[in-house]
């Protein structure tokens, strides 16, 4: 079965087309004013890349902040089951998926069979998210792609005192005007995001391998800081980490086939029950 998953995030629209567990194609588009058009364009691009006709897609599943905007979705699901299903399909040893996105950090426990085993998310606040990093990079006039290199060059990351992204931005401007280097500020911002994610990981009380996904996990410096903070190696998915939720949604769209195929008829029935004389 060919299925598609839509992850409509706060910063990017991700669409993934799968057949079985194989990714046929995917696309990532930045969000904008006309969301429906962007979703349509992202879907079209994903279809082109996968070489699949629209009518060949049997089921569509949507997740994420704007999931309700996907008109033709067969169902809308929360992000947690999508993350759990995706990371379990990629590596069944994973017990925790950390998704650091544009506005949210989602930490999802993954059971041994790939089902959700508890979820945690950060407060609805830009201070611990990709949007915050974008704001800071714009303030510093640093291209987003250069953030990682610059942060890794820092010797004394600046500890941001403000908890709110708006106040933090003012604080950063003050620091820039005071002569603080861009490297230290960026490293400090990354560290504040890492600490928020690490706190959620700690609260989750999960033991086992941790998978890191979401757009922010594509920044090498973030990965390094995250692994250093949680004192363990993180599993980086072999796919683009940004499309993991969309990939999971597509796997969920496949439904039963993705879980397991039902076995033999009557195999579990030993025959007849007997009238029990007592318990």
């Amino acid at each position: 079965m060919i299925a598609s998953g839509f992850d409509i995030g706060t910063r990017f629209v991700k669409v993934c087309i799968v057949e079985g567990r194989n990714v046929l194609g995917y696309s990532i588009e930045e969000t904008g004013k006309d969301m429906r058009r962007i979703i349509k364009a992202a879907y079209k691009r994903a279809l082109e890349r996968s070489g699949v006709k629209k009518r060949a897609v049997e089921r569509r599943m949507a997740t994420g902040y704007g999931s309700e905007l996907v008109r033709k979705a067969d169902a809308v699901v929360p992000e947690a089951p999508c993350l759990a299903r995706a990371v379990h399909a990629l590596n069944p040893e994973i017990r925790l998926a950390v998704d650091v996105g544009g506005l949210f950090i989602n930490v999802t426990g993954v059971g041994a069979r790939g089902f959700v085993d508890g979820t945690l998310t950060n407060d609805k606040c830009a201070a611990g998210s990709g949007k915050f990093l974008e704001m800071v990079s714009e303030t510093l006039s640093v291209p987003f792609d250069s953030i990682s290199d610059m942060a890794l060059r820092s010797n004394s990351p600046y500890a941001i005192n403000s908890q709110c992204a708006v106040f933090a931005e003012s604080e950063i401007i003050s620091q820039v005007n005071g002569g603080r280097s861009g490297e230290d500020i960026l490293a400090g911002v990354l560290k504040s995001i890492v600490l928020r994610a690490a706190t959620l990981v700690e609260r989750s009380d999960a033991s086992g391998m941790v998978a890191l996904c979401g757009g922010i996990s594509k920044i090498p410096a973030f990965r390094v800081l995250f692994e250093r903070t949680i004192k363990s190696d993180a599993y980086i998915p072999p796919l683009d980490p940004q499309i993991i939720a969309a990939y999971g949604a597509a796997l969920l769209a496949e439904g039963r086939a993705a879980v397991r195929n039902k076995g033999s008829v009557g195999a579990a029935c030993p025959g007849h029950a007997r009238v029990m004389e007592s318990r």
């Binding site: 929360p78 085993d117 439904g255 879980v259 076995g263 009557g266 029950a273 029990m276």
Partner: protein
């Protein structure tokens, strides 16, 4: 006397005296019984599937409210022609039971006993008495639509009844306060399954001013407990004898127990058959069997119903055929949603989901009654009482509940677990964390829904369906 109460701001709902019983007895059940007699089962099946199905399957409206629930209890148009044969004895059981209401209303010749729903009606068959199970109104009351059910509950609450009580007890009291059942001469009940029931009956006694006997339920699950309870049953018999001036007919009790053994054989076979993949038995059948057992335990009609269901299911099992054409999800379900009986056919139709392992009520796990002597019969009936649905699970330590839960998970190959929470069931919610931990350990996705199985005011049918849909889809089961 007509009870009038302001239920909603704009309308005044009126529930006439004995309205429920009269409607069920003279219209609904007799009408269905007549249809079963006059039409061949294939025709019934076709009519149910293609004519009534769309009418009853969607939400309750003012056009279908008087028949929707009743027809959903009868299979919702999903039964096959062969299984409609079982409905003939079902109608006989309901009609026999309703006679205990109708005859005392018309002309009272025999004593009338209110019987707690966890006390075996077999004892009543051994006396020349009428018996009414007040809690059965939670089932039969719902057959007339939600207006009627809600009205009964609200009348009770307006009389000062506890909102937190089990809604089955509230239905029973509501039925009394709205004059849906004639006044009793005696009350016989038990201290199981829960304290909600225990507190309800003294209230009923207070308003009816009749003698009451309460069976004292032991916590334990050993021979001493059974012997203690058998002693209680003997005292109950003496109580009934003293207050009715009758003597127990041991032969009639023996015959009832022999029927019960036959019925239980078939029902336990049916319960066990749900272990097969695909399951040849519908959860609806087991739930209906539970409700019929409540009304007609010890009746030959009940045995006949169970036999027909068993034989059809056995044929399907032998052919390797399931109840559903394609069984996609196997659900372990706890607690029967009485007010939301539409959920069962809905999940079967919508998701190809099959409830296996039985729900709290439908899972038949009743010991054999040894009828060789009066003594052995009493001891066996003590075991029957203490192993009845709910009673076996919630009367003692949590192990009684959890052992069965783990056994069901191990034996019935469920893909997920759904607990239809019931507001009044402290036990069910009290075990919540333990159930979750067990599911987590096994890796079984679990859904705990906050609702009330008999009270649709708590959570709507649509909301429950939405939660179930999200759960199935979100876990990749559908």
């Amino acid at each position: 006397m007509n009870v009038r109460i302001n239920l909603r701001a704009k309308t005044v709902f009126e529930l006439k005296e004995y309205r429920i019983v009269r409607y069920l007895y003279y219209v609904l059940i007799r009408g269905y019984y007549l249809a079963l007699l006059l039409l061949p089962y294939g025709v019934i099946s076709l009519v149910a599937r293609y004519v009534l199905h769309p009418f009853i399957f969607n939400k309750e409206t003012r056009f279908n409210k008087y028949i929707r629930s009743a027809l959903l209890w009868m299979g919702g148009g999903l039964h096959k022609a062969a299984d409609y044969r079982a409905h003939l004895p079902i109608m006989r059981i309901i009609l026999d039971y309703l006679r205990h209401h109708v005859e005392p209303i018309k002309n009272r010749k025999k004593p009338l006993i209110y019987l707690g729903w966890c006390v075996s009606p077999e004892f009543m068959r051994a006396f020349d008495v009428h018996y009414i199970i007040p809690e059965a109104f939670s089932v039969t009351g719902s057959w007339l639509g939600r207006d009627v059910s809600n009205h009964m509950l609200e009348v009770l609450e307006s009389e000062g009844g506890s909102i937190e009580s089990c809604s089955a007890s509230k239905f029973a009291a509501g039925a009394y306060f709205t004059r849906q059942m004639p006044d009793p001469d005696l009350i016989v009940t038990s201290s199981h399954p829960c304290d909600s029931g225990v507190s309800f009956y003294p209230t009923l006694q207070n308003v009816t001013r009749v003698p009451m006997y309460v069976l004292d339920t032991p916590y334990g699950d050993d021979e001493d407990s059974y012997r203690y309870f058998a002693g209680n049953l003997k005292a109950m018999i003496s109580f009934i004898e003293k207050n009715t001036g009758q003597k127990i007919d041991w032969d009639r009790l023996r015959r009832s127990c022999e029927e019960l053994n036959k019925t239980n054989f078939y029902l336990q076979e049916l319960t066990a058959m749900t272990r097969a993949i695909p399951s040849p038995v519908s959860s609806q059948q087991l739930t209906v069997a539970w409700a019929m057992k409540l009304m007609g335990s010890g009746s030959p009609h009940l045995t006949e119903m169970a036999r027909i269901m068993y034989e059809n299911a056995k044929k399907r099992l032998d052919r390797g055929q399931g109840w559903l054409r394609e069984e996609r999800i196997r659900v372990i379900w706890w607690d029967v949603p009485i007010a939301f009986v539409s959920l069962y056919p809905w999940i079967e139709k919508e998701f190809g989901a099959m409830i296996v392992g039985g729900d709290l009520m439908g899972r038949c796990n009743t010991p054999y009654v040894d009828t060789s002597s009066e003594e052995s019969m009493m001891l066996s009936l003590a075991k029957v009482h203490l192993n009845a649905s709910m009673v076996r699970n919630v009367r003692g330590t949590q192990e009684l509940f959890m052992d069965e839960f783990e056994q069901i998970i191990a034996e019935y190959s469920g893909d997920c677990f759904i607990f239809v929470g019931h507001n009044g069931c402290k036990h069910g919610w009290g075990y919540g964390r333990i159930k979750k931990d067990i599911c987590k350990r096994i890796g079984l996705p679990a859904l705990h829904m906050s609702s009330d199985y008999s009270d649709s005011r708590n959570t709507s049918e649509e909301s429950l369906k939405k939660q179930i849909s999200d759960f199935f889809i979100g876990n990749g089961l559908a």
